[in-house]
Symmetry: C2
Subunit: 372 residues, 2 copies
C-alpha cells in the first residue's frame, strides 16, 4: 500500500476544478480518498472484468476512511453504452439508497467512465463522481474533460452531459493486467500530446517507449502525468469545446473514418488514432506546414509503439465520404487538425486532392508507402 | 398578432442569464422569436392536447423568422415523465436532424417542460431550449429555475439536470383554453409568492382574484410577471438549490404528504399546495412567529381562489411518516418552510407535537376547523 512516484495534476475549471492523482499503489491506499467525508456513501460502477480484479480493493480502502461502498456491475464493451445500461446504473443508485451526498466511483475504462459519469450527472440532477481509470487510454484521455454520455443508434456519444469529476485516481499498477494491445492503443494518445503540444515530451517518448511497453512504473507515471497536464491546459481554455479544444482531435478525422469504415470494434480507437496521426502528419507535409523529417519522427514513434501504420483499402471516395460526416466538417468542406511545427497544431480546411493523396499513400491498393 | 401589456423579466444567472417575455399575443408573433438565428432549425416538443391548439401557430411564427420547425408529440400527463418518453424525444431530435445549433421548444405545461428541457440538456451534451408554458402553474413556477427531469418509480424528478432555457415566452392568452381547475391550481403558487416574499403583492392578489379567475389579461400579466420576478430573484441567489431557494417550498411539505398519501393525481399539485400553505400558516401561528390575523389573510385568499382548505383524514401518524421522507427532513427531524411575518419566510425544525396539532386542525376526523 506504499505510494511511490505520485504526481498531482490540477485541472483548473473555476468552481469545477479538481485534481488528478497519478502514481503507483494508489487504488488500495486509504489516503487517496481522505477528502471524502466520513460517513458518506459510495457506489462503485464497474464491469465484470475490472470488478473482479479491483472492486474489493477499492471498497476496502473506502471503508478505511469511513465510506460504505456498494457495487453496481455493468456489461463490458462499447455496445453497452446504451439507455438500458444507464437505467441499470440509476436503478443501482436507487437500490443503494444513494443521496445527494453520495459519490459515484467509475472503476474501469472509457465506457465505464462515460456511463457512470453520465449517471452521476443525471441522478438527483447531479451528484459527485470520482474517476478510477483502469486503461492507459482512459487515464490519459477520457478521465480529463468532463465528457460523459451514451451512444444512440445514429451516433456515438449523442446523448450526454459535461460533468466534471471531483477527483481522478490514476494508478499505473492496474495497467499490469491490461491486455498488451490496449496498452499499445493507449500510447497513441500519449504520442498525440507530444505531437500537438510539447516537442520535448515527444522526444522523451521516443526514448522511453521500450520502458513504457515493459510496464515501467516511473515511465508510466510520467507519461500519464504529462499527458493529463497537456489535456487539462487545453480543456481549461475551452471547457465546452467551442474552439481550441479541437486540436485534441489530431489524427481523429482519419481515425473515425477507419473505425466507421471497418465497423466499430475491428480496430481499437487508439490503433486508428495511431494510423490517423501518421496520415495527418503526412497531410501537414503535403500542405507545406512541416518538414518531412518531422513527420518521419512521429511516424517512427507510432511504429515503435507497435501501432499500425497502414489504413484499410476502403478506396479514396469512401474515405472522403466518411470524413465529410465528421463533426469538424463545415458545409461539406474537409477540415483536419494539422501540425504547424514541433509541438504546434491547428485546424485547417483542406482541399480534396491533397487529402486524397494522403489517403492514397496510406490506404492505396499497393498497401502503405508512408515515407518511413 | 398585436402584443399588449408585455413585460420582460430578466433572470440573472451570469452567462446562463435569460429573459422571460410575459404578455398577450406573444405565441403567434414573429417578434417573440427574433433573437433566433435565421436558417437554424427548431423542434417543438408538445402533447396532443396543446399541440392541436397551438403547435401550428408557433411553427408559423418561427417560419416567419426563417426557422424551420419539426414537431415531436409526447403523451400527456405526469405518468409519461419516463425514460421511454425521453427516448422518444431524443429519437425525434435525431429524426429532425437537430444539431448543436438547433433550438428545442417546450410547448405545454410542466411535464412537457421538464421532459423537453431534459432532452435538450442531454442531446449532444446540451442544446438550447425555449420554454413556452401553457398552464398558469408552468408560467409562474416550472419555467423559472432550470430544473428539468423525469420520474423514477422510486421518486419524482429523481433523474434530471439543471439546464437553463435561453428564453421563456409566457403568453397569457393560452390560459383561456386551460381547464378552470388548473387555472385555480396555478393561483396557489401565485399566492405563495406574495406570502413568502412580497406582502404588497399579496394585497394586490386579494383584490384581484376575481379578475384573475375571470381571465383578465392585464391582471394575469401582472400576476405572472411579479411571480416570475420573485422566483427569479430567489433562484439567482441560489441556482443549485443549496439553501435560500428552499423557501419556494412554502406549503410543499404538507402538500407532498397529501399528494403521496392520496395517490399522485388525485389532488392537483396546486390544490395540495393551497391547502399546505394554509397548514403552514397555521403552524407559523402555533410557533408564535406570526399573528393569527396574518394567517387568516392567507387562508382567506386560498379559499377565495377556490382552492381546498381541508386535508384528507389520513391520520396524524401517517402524515408524520410521509413528512419525514421529505427531502428537507434531516436525520428524521421535521423541517418546514414557515412565515416569520408578512412577505418573510424561513426554514425551521418543528417539534412533532406542534406539527401534529396543525394536522389535527386541518385533517382531523371532524373535518377542517381552520381559524377562518
Amino acid at each position: 500500500m506504499n505510494t511511490r512516484a505520485t504526481a498531482v495534476v490540477d485541472v483548473g475549471l473555476g468552481e469545477r476544478s479538481y485534481s488528478i492523482l497519478v502514481g503507483s499503489g494508489l487504488l488500495g491506499a486509504p489516503s487517496s480518498y481522505r477528502r471524502l467525508a466520513h460517513g458518506t456513501s459510495a457506489v462503485i460502477v464497474t464491469n465484470d472484468t475490472v470488478g473482479t480484479l479491483y472492486a474489493h480493493t477499492l471498497a476496502a480502502a473506502l471503508e478505511q476512511v469511513g465510506v460504505r461502498a456498494e457495487i453496481v456491475l455493468v456489461a463490458d464493451g462499447e455496445a453497452f453504452k446504451t439507455w438500458e445500461t444507464l437505467q441499470t446504473i440509476v436503478d443501482g443508485l436507487v437500490a443503494s439508497r444513494a443521496d445527494r451526498s453520495s459519490t459515484v466511483f467509475a472503476l474501469g475504462g472509457g465506457v465505464v467512465g462515460d456511463l457512470a459519469g453520465f449517471a452521476a450527472a443525471c441522478y438527483m440532477r447531479g451528484v459527485a463522481y470520482v474517476q478510477v481509470p483502469t486503461t492507459l487510454l482512459a487515464q490519459v484521455d477520457s478521465s480529463v474533460g468532463g465528457k460523459t454520455g451514451i451512444n444512440h443508434p445514429s451516433g456515438k456519444n449523442l446523448i450526454g452531459a459535461f460533468h466534471q469529476p471531483s477527483a481522478v485516481i490514476a494508478d499505473v499498477d492496474v495497467l499490469a493486467t491490461l491486455p498488451r494491445r490496449e496498452l499499445v492503443a493507449g500510447l497513441a494518445e500519449v504520442i498525440k500530446y507530444g505531437a500537438i503540444a510539447d516537442d520535448a515530451f515527444l522526444a522523451w517518448i521516443e526514448t522511453s517507449l521500450p520502458a513504457l511497453l515493459a510496464g515501467d512504473q516511473a515511465a508510466l507515471v510520467h507519461a500519464v502525468t504529462r499527458s493529463c497536464q497537456i489535456k487539462a491546459a487545453v480543456v481549461a481554455a475551452d471547457e465546452r469545446e467551442s474552439g481550441p479544444r479541437a486540436v485534441l482531435n489530431f489524427g481523429h478525422t482519419f481515425a473515425h473514418a477507419i473505425e466507421t469504415g471497418t465497423g466499430h470494434g475491428t480496430w481499437l480507437h487508439g490503433e486508428a488514432v495511431g494510423c490517423g496521426m501518421a496520415m495527418a502528419a503526412d497531410l501537414s507535409v503535403r500542405l507545406g506546414l512541416i518538414e518531412p523529417a518531422h513527420a518521419s519522427r512521429i511516424t517512427a514513434a507510432i511504429a515503435a509503439a507497435g501501432l499500425p501504420l497502414y489504413a484499410p483499402a476502403l478506396g479514396v471516395p469512401r474515405y472522403l465520404e466518411l470524413m465529410r460526416m465528421d463533426k469538424k466538417a463545415i458545409a461539406g468542406a474537409l477540415r483536419f487538425v494539422v501540425l504547424e511545427g514541433p509541438g504546434r497544431a491547428a485546424i485547417r480546411t483542406v482541399d480534396e486532392a491533397t487529402a486524397a493523396a494522403t489517403i492514397e499513400a496510406f490506404a492505396g491498393e499497393r498497401g502503405p508507402d508512408a515515407a518511413l
